[in-house]
């Protein structure tokens, strides 16, 4: 039986055709040996101890119950002075914590996850309050490529188990939050992840120890005062503290976290909502039909995600109020800094908006407080409100971390997040990594690192970093001959989900080997850490590198941009650099950039100035496989960076070159001369002759016999398209220019 794997199946690490158990001599171009293919097919194998070593302690699912009931029993320290030790401690069994647990488990690492709730994903048991997730669950793409399909699946975590895809959990395009809870529970159970539920870590501190991996241990204390000692701490606690803005009368506002979700409670009311994010609009959407009007007040103008292509901005699914506002209903949007405001309650229990400034004016009785409309009788918020609802987002819970950890907030523009490096490691303490939503300071308002579909990849990147740092396992890479370079890049930009979701944060890296004869392909490296690539990955970047990134056009999007303008997309390959929609960009560096170069790169550039850059022109279908529109310009770029010829040739052409030239093109060297030539069929040869790229030597012979003319007299030997290297030596060629 002969079997074909479907086009673009992601199971093989190579884009080249590989024969599996192939008995056909000479016909397989650069076929890999069976074993390497098998490796590509076999699911990841647990390294070292794997599950079996961990099983006696953690046991099958049945045993988990026991552990959950008596966490103290199994972890009770042998000596009072030495708390139980784990190499890796994960805080939080939300999506990010479970994702990290999965990778640690697969690698056979010593780890534990602490979760204060009785089950995973507790955030989703309550939030979003109106239960509709705004992450898409696209069940049909018309493609069978699992990696590609993850580009449009924003809810699944990464695993080897196809049953753990979110599409099996919900049919809704915007699924119910309850399905997420169910999914996360299954994920933890089915993969037998080690989670200690009902364990609230109340305090984290540092214990210096020269023996420790990072020079110190993290000491975690739970609600029962039990301590755990961890070499590496992975914080995946999300954002859990509702953001409150302090102003006089703020106590009258009901929080998003507790406000009623029953529209009946709002019938005939005037409602003021503070905030302009998705939670604010989601709340408004729910009561839009029953209120008198809704006013929405926030410091800055609304940012629409379709204009910013940032998924955390206001999504169209929630923006009903914008519609009614602009269509002259009674609802409306206002901008003002909340900290200047004050809310006063009148005798009837209704709320008036005034300025803090007025309150500060000498002691006035509640009813005598100056209102803006006293001076300014057309003040927008002069109507009294029945309710004020606060929907101002969430902050990271810094309170459990001891000062010695130096875990600080991310600065003026991302206060709600802890400050981390682009490697997700805390700037304050080595060995402390922030994962998931809490790690979003790295790409806040830029990419998807704050959301499941983004951080599932950044978590994997952190895990790869740890595997190298603590276990000497180099960053995974596949090695290929240089002739595979174009295809390797084309394959990734067309199917890779990590690049697509985490655009301009995670990038693929091609490390060239000596003389650029071969290369290593590394996936999804945190690109801001490029200067430290060798230390982080354990791989060598001495011979130059390519970075493959996905980017939007530099000036395309923004909260105030018209992203629907005419001619917003370009089609010609020479205009590719002006592409606006997400498209692949390839940077070439002759040398690894330094830290300084990365830090002081030009504004708007995700990386320092490269030696050369290539844009693959934006594509309406995000399908960059057009032979002339996409692949050819990419090959030319790679050829010119590497100063070589990367064309492919049929065996017959290689045969001709082998006997008429001292040097062979890489494709012939790596294929034909190793008995892996590509034999074209007769009709392909015919096409080649018609295109002028191949010559019909059989016909040459015939004509010669017929007309007895000398060969060379009439032959198109110098046909410009014939597969010849440049006629002149390249050096003299350059001088001429």
């Amino acid at each position: 039986m002969l079997i074909l794997a479907a086009p673009q199946v992601a199971v093989s690490a190579q884009a080249s055709p590989c024969l599996f158990l192939g008995p056909i001599p000479h016909a397989s171009p650069r076929a890999s040996r069976g074993s390497s293919v098998v490796q590509g097919l076999t699911p990841l194998v647990c390294r070292r101890m794997g599950l079996s070593a961990a099983a006696p302690l953690w046991g099958p699912p049945g045993l988990l119950l026991t552990i959950a009931l008596h966490p103290a029993l199994s972890l009770r320290p042998a000596k009072a002075s030495a708390p139980p030790h784990r190499d890796y401690c994960v805080l939080g069994a939300g999506p990010a914590g479970l994702q990290m647990a999965y990778f640690l488990q697969r690698a056979g690492r010593d780890y534990v996850v602490f979760e204060r709730a009785p089950g995973p994903g507790s955030f989703f048991t309550r939030y979003p309050r109106h239960r509709k997730l705004i992450s898409i669950n696209k069940r049909y793409t018309g493609k069978v490529n699992a990696e590609f399909n993850l580009r449009h699946d924003w809810n699944s975590l990464l695993s080897h188990d196809p049953r753990l895809l979110f599409r099996h959990y919900s049919h809704a395009y915007f699924p119910d939050a309850g399905d997420m809870v169910r999914y996360l529970r299954d994920f933890a159970d089915r993969l037998q992840l080690h989670v200690l539920y009902n364990t609230t870590i109340a305090h984290v501190t540092l214990l210096k120890d020269r023996q420790a991996w990072n020079g110190h241990y993290f000491i975690l204390t739970d609600q029962k005062d039990l301590a755990y000692q961890c070499s590496v701490l992975l914080v995946a606690t999300g954002l859990s503290v509702p953001n409150q803005v302090d102003f006089p009368g703020s106590e009258y506002a009901e929080g998003y976290e507790s406000v009623s979700v029953d529209p009946k409670d709002f019938v005939g009311q005037n409602v003021l909502i503070l905030g302009r994010g998705n939670s604010a609009f989601e709340t408004a959407e729910n009561i839009l039909g029953v209120t008198n009007f809704i006013h929405m007040l926030s410091r800055s103008r609304v940012r629409l995600s379709w204009a910013t292509h940032y998924v955390g901005d206001l999504r169209a699914i929630n923006n009903g109020l914008l519609d009614t506002y602009q269509l002259k209903s009674l609802d409306g949007l206002l901008e003002s800094d909340l900290t200047n405001l004050a809310i006063v309650k009148d005798r009837e229990g209704r709320f008036h908006v005034t300025l803090k400034f007025f309150l500060e004016e000498a002691n006035q009785s509640a009813d005598a407080i100056t209102l803006p409309q006293d001076d300014n009788d057309n003040f927008a918020m002069r109507e009294a409100y029945d309710r004020v609802i606060r929907c101002l987002g969430w902050n990271f819970d810094f309170s459990i971390f001891n000062k010695s950890l130096r875990l600080s907030s991310g600065g003026e523009f991302s206060k709600k997040y802890p400050l981390v490096r682009a490697s997700y490691e805390s700037k304050g303490s080595r060995g402390l990594f922030v994962l998931g939503t809490a790690s979003h300071s790295v790409d806040y308002r830029k990419s998807a690192g704050g959301f499941i579909h983004g951080f599932r990849y950044t978590v994997r990147a952190v895990h790869r970093l740890l595997e190298h740092r603590h276990h000497g396992i180099t960053w995974p890479a596949t090695e290929h001959p240089i002739t595979q370079l174009t295809s390797s890049i084309v394959r990734r930009v067309n199917e890779a989900s990590g690049l697509y979701q985490m655009f301009s944060v995670l990038a693929d890296v091609v490390l060239l080997k000596e003389n650029a004869a071969a290369f290593e392909y590394l996936e999804e490296f945190p690109m801001q850490m490029l200067a430290q690539l060798e230390t982080i990955t354990g791989r060598n970047a001495r011979h130059g590198l390519f970075v493959i990134n996905m980017e939007y056009g530099r000036n395309f999007s923004g909260p105030d941009k018209d992203v629907f303008f005419y001619d917003r997309s370009v089609g010609h390959t020479e205009d590719a650099w002006r592409s606006n929609f997400l498209h692949p960009v390839i940077y070439y560096y002759r040398h690894l950039p330094t830290e300084q170069e990365v830090r002081f790169r030009p504004a708007d550039w995700p990386l320092p100035r490269p030696t050369a850059i290539h844009h693959i022109v934006e594509d309406f279908l995000t399908d960059w496989t057009a032979p002339v529109g996409h692949i050819l310009p990419l090959r030319r770029f790679l050829e010119n960076c590497l100063d070589t010829d990367l064309r492919s040739f049929y065996a017959e052409s290689c045969f001709l070159f082998a006997l008429t030239r001292q040097k062979q093109p890489p494709f012939c060297q790596q294929g034909y001369l190793r008995m892996q030539g590509l034999v074209g069929t007769e009709n392909l040869r015919q096409h080649g002759v018609e295109s002028g790229l191949l010559r019909d030597y059989a016909a040459v012979g015939k004509r010669q016999e017929d007309s007895s003319r000398r060969p060379g007299d009439h032959e198109p030997a110098g046909h410009p398209l014939a597969p010849e290297p440049p006629v002149q030596p390249p050096d003299s060629n350059k001088e001429e220019l």
């Binding site: 002969l2 074909l4 590719a576 049929y650 065996a651 030539g677 034999v679 040869r685 350059k734």
Partner: protein, 769 residues
């Protein structure tokens, strides 16, 4: 990439050279004594003089700048001189010690203005200040919105206004405005300000750089109406202002009824496109309205014309409603646009693309860069509509993969639809699938090596009886002989057999009675038997202490023939021997006499340093291509050549006038070895370089970035400088007012001259951009 960089460098160098020549050719600054200077002054002619004391330090920078301003000022009829205050001749302009740094502007011998040299900080400032002083009446300097409104109101129905904002007096932008005022100052009222607030008050945003507006006041008859304003969107340079004003002066909308290909207006001469709105009688009014609206939107960017289809003699496509003429001599484009915005965006984008294109002029990239030069990719593309009979194969997905592969013996091809090499291979793969359908059952079951269990079976195997149907794939049967106890030798052999699986059928015999076979074939155990079916010979090779790789090598070499017909398929095996090839080119089967000669020499070990082979042009037509590469004129076949592929690349041809005999051949080879024969050609040794350059997106991006930043304007001058020039201006009022007519005369005298220069450099500019 490298090459385009080089070409850029080259351009840079030639520019520098040009400038050097240019400088030396320019009239240099005349140096005169005061007396001499005043004697040269002509009535009504303006002159700028710098009075200085010998060569005091610190003046040289100024002198350099002044020197640079000589030529442009002369173009405006203003002479420039350096006056040396020598002791013998005293002049009041020489001033006292500290006050030496001053320049004076005279008309005739009347002093118009004096300039401290620090206001004349560079050539631009010198030209700007001098023209500003001379054109005081033509260019109104204002500071408030009220001033502007007054000017506007006064000119409604009479003249248009050119209003510009520059960040400071003396900047290059200021100079550009003054130069334009010199030409257009008597047709339009020029108004200048340095007040940002004023610009803001007329509703301009983003005031990072200089602005120039054209106020269309002449057409305003109702005094309560505002003048329409058009903003010049390009940077303020003399040429851009010239181009802008020219387009403002052109009629807003022209009606034409002739072939658009023949129509030309000032716009085309200025490098701007023409947009024809196609109209017909029935909709004339509406079309005219549309066209006017478009014309206002495109004012300064394109010429707009109304094309009357009904009275047109040439045919234009029926549905076309817009005709677009990019430039003179280029065929017009007929467009069907359903939205006026599309017309606008087409023009605006065209301008943008043009800017980009102009940058690329120097690049070596031709159209070839976009043409496929990969033979595999191109042939697969041309074959894309072929339907392959994929039904002979099972298509796997990730979900079905494991189950299918585990369940049966499978050959799995991983391919990608977009990857040309795998698609080319797929065609052969399907051909094989068709063939395998027939023979699958037998070939599939052969394990490697085949375990032979009896002496009789071994004999059948060696004679080729056992796998008769596969004999065509293999000319040699390989059998390993081991006594049952030789476990490690057996293991190595088995491994080698596995390695060669798919290429060679290997067998293994290790029964108790193995001695029967080893005796028969005179083999010492462990041993390898090679049965060559064609020759009917069986040889034995001892395998004691032979490692896996060596076994593989022995078996592989066993398949090498002593005088093979070289083909596309087998050449790589023979190239591995790293010896020069002795090739006999033959048009058809080999002549037995030749074969015999060479085989004799082989047998006598004369050809050990070569790989002798022959090439049948009937089977391997590409051999003709090889001959063409070796010979200028291919002599008659058969032909013998030696190709030294691995060291030097020389090709030697056996003389065609000699008979191919053992003796002649041997003698020729000896001479060859001794270096007495000369080669007919040397194979080229050049590296395989990129066939074409790539798009240099990096320079395109950087060029775009620098364009953006220059548009934001140069650094402004210190606030105090501006103040100073305001004051000076007021002081000077009376001096200039006295002689308005002379000023005008100078302007007229030079206007045509300036124009020529502008046009010339405009054309030049266009090319260089």
């Amino acid at each position: 990439m490298m090459s385009s960089c080089l070409s850029v460098c080259r351009v840079g160098i030639s520019f520098v050279m040009m400038n050097i020549f240019y400088k030396s050719a320019v009239d240099s600054l005349p140096e005169l004594s005061p007396q001499k200077y005043f004697s040269t002054l002509q009535p009504a002619k303006a002159s700028l003089a710098y009075f200085c004391q010998a060569d005091s330090p610190g003046t040289s920078v100024f002198l350099e700048e002044l020197n640079e301003a000589v030529k442009p000022l002369q173009d405006y009829g203003i002479s420039v001189a350096k006056v040396n205050c020598v002791k013998e001749e005293t002049s009041r302009y020489c001033g006292k010690e500290k006050d030496l740094m001053k320049a004076y502007l005279f008309r005739g011998n009347i002093l118009l203005r004096e300039f401290p040299t620090d206001t004349l900080f560079d050539a631009n400032a010198i030209v700007a200040h001098v023209l500003f002083a001379l054109l005081f009446n033509e260019v109104k300097y204002i500071t408030t919105l009220e001033d502007l409104q007054n000017v506007e109101n006064a000119l409604k129905g009479k003249a248009n206004v050119v209003f510009s904002y520059v960040r400071a007096i003396g900047t290059p932008e200021h100079r550009a405005v003054m130069e334009a005022a010199f030409v257009y100052g008597n047709t339009h009222q020029f108004v200048l300000t340095t007040e940002i607030a004023l610009l803001e008050s007329i509703g301009t945003e983003d005031i990072e750089y200089a602005h120039l507006y054209f106020f269309h006041c002449k057409a305003v008859l109702d005094l309560t109406q505002q003048c329409r304003r058009t903003l010049m969107e390009r940077p303020l340079t003399t040429l851009n202002i010239h181009r802008f004003i020219k387009t403002m002066e052109a009629p807003l909308l022209t009606e034409v009824a002739e072939d658009p290909q023949q129509v030309s207006t000032v716009h085309l001469q200025l490098g701007l496109p023409l947009v024809f709105i196609v109209s017909q009688q029935a909709t004339y009014e509406a079309d005219r309205g549309t066209a006017e609206w478009v014309a206002w939107r495109l004012l300064g960017k394109a010429g707009v014309l109304l094309l009357l289809r009904d009275s047109l003699e040439v045919d234009i496509p029926q549905h076309a409603n817009v005709v677009f003429k990019r430039e003179e001599g280029v065929p017009v484009e007929f467009l069907v646009l359903h939205d006026i915005d599309l017309i606008i965006s087409r023009v605006e984008n065209n301008m943008h693309i043009e800017e980009v294109r102009e940058d690329e002029d120097n690049d070596v990239e031709g159209p070839d860069i976009d043409i496929q030069d990969d033979e595999v990719a191109e042939t697969i593309y041309r074959d894309r509509k072929r339907q392959l009979p994929l039904e002979l194969t099972v298509e796997l997905t990730e979900e079905t993969f494991n189950a299918t592969v585990m369940a049966s013996d499978s050959i799995v091809l991983f391919y990608a639809g977009w990857q040309a090499v795998s698609m080319a291979f797929l065609q052969s793969y399907i051909d094989v699938a068709i063939k395998l359908k027939v023979i699958y059952s037998s070939s599939n079951r052969i394990s490697c090596p085949v375990n032979i269990t009896s002496v009789q079976e071994a004999e059948e195997y060696l004679s080729g009886e056992l796998y008769k149907d596969l004999i065509s794939y293999s000319s040699v049967s390989v059998l390993g002989l081991f006594s049952p106890t030789m476990t490690s030798a057996k293991k190595d052999f088995t491994e080698a057999g596995n390695y060669l699986k798919g290429c060679v059928i290997t067998g293994i015999y290790s029964e108790e009675d193995v001695l029967i076979l080893s005796n028969k074939y005179a083999a010492t155990l462990p041993a390898l038997l090679l049965a060559r079916h064609k020759e009917g010979k069986t040889e034995s090779i001892p395998l004691a202490n032979t490692h896996v790789q060596d076994i593989v090598q022995i078996i592989t070499n066993a398949f090498l023939e002593t005088f093979p017909e070289i083909t596309v398929e087998n050449l790589p095996i023979y190239l591995r021997l790293q010896k020069p090839l002795l090739i006999l080119f033959s048009d058809g089967s080999i002549i037995p006499r030749y074969k015999k000669t060479i085989l004799t020499l082989v047998k006598e070990k004369h050809l050990d340093s070569l790989t002798p082979c022959w090439l049948n042009l009937k089977n391997t037509p590409v051999g003709r291509g090889i001959l063409q590469a070796y010979f200028d004129a291919v002599p008659p076949l058969p032909l013998l050549v030696v190709v030294n592929l691995h060291s030097g690349g020389q090709v030697f041809a056996f003389p065609s006038d000699q008979d191919v005999t053992e003796q002649n051949l041997l003698l020729w080879l000896k001479k060859l070895e001794a270096g007495l024969e000369s080669h007919i050609t040397i194979l080229p040794a050049q590296e395989w370089k990129p066939p074409f350059p790539a798009y240099d997106f990096l320079s395109m991006m950087e060029a775009a970035a620098s364009r953006r930043s220059t548009r934001e304007g140069p650094e402004c001058v210190k606030e105090t400088d501006v103040q100073e020039s305001h004051e000076e201006q007021h002081e000077d009022k009376p001096a200039i007012r006295d002689e308005p007519t002379e000023t005008l005369r100078i302007k007229h005298w030079n206007r045509s001259n300036w124009f020529k220069e502008a046009e010339k450099s405009f054309r030049h500019d266009n090319k260089e951009l």
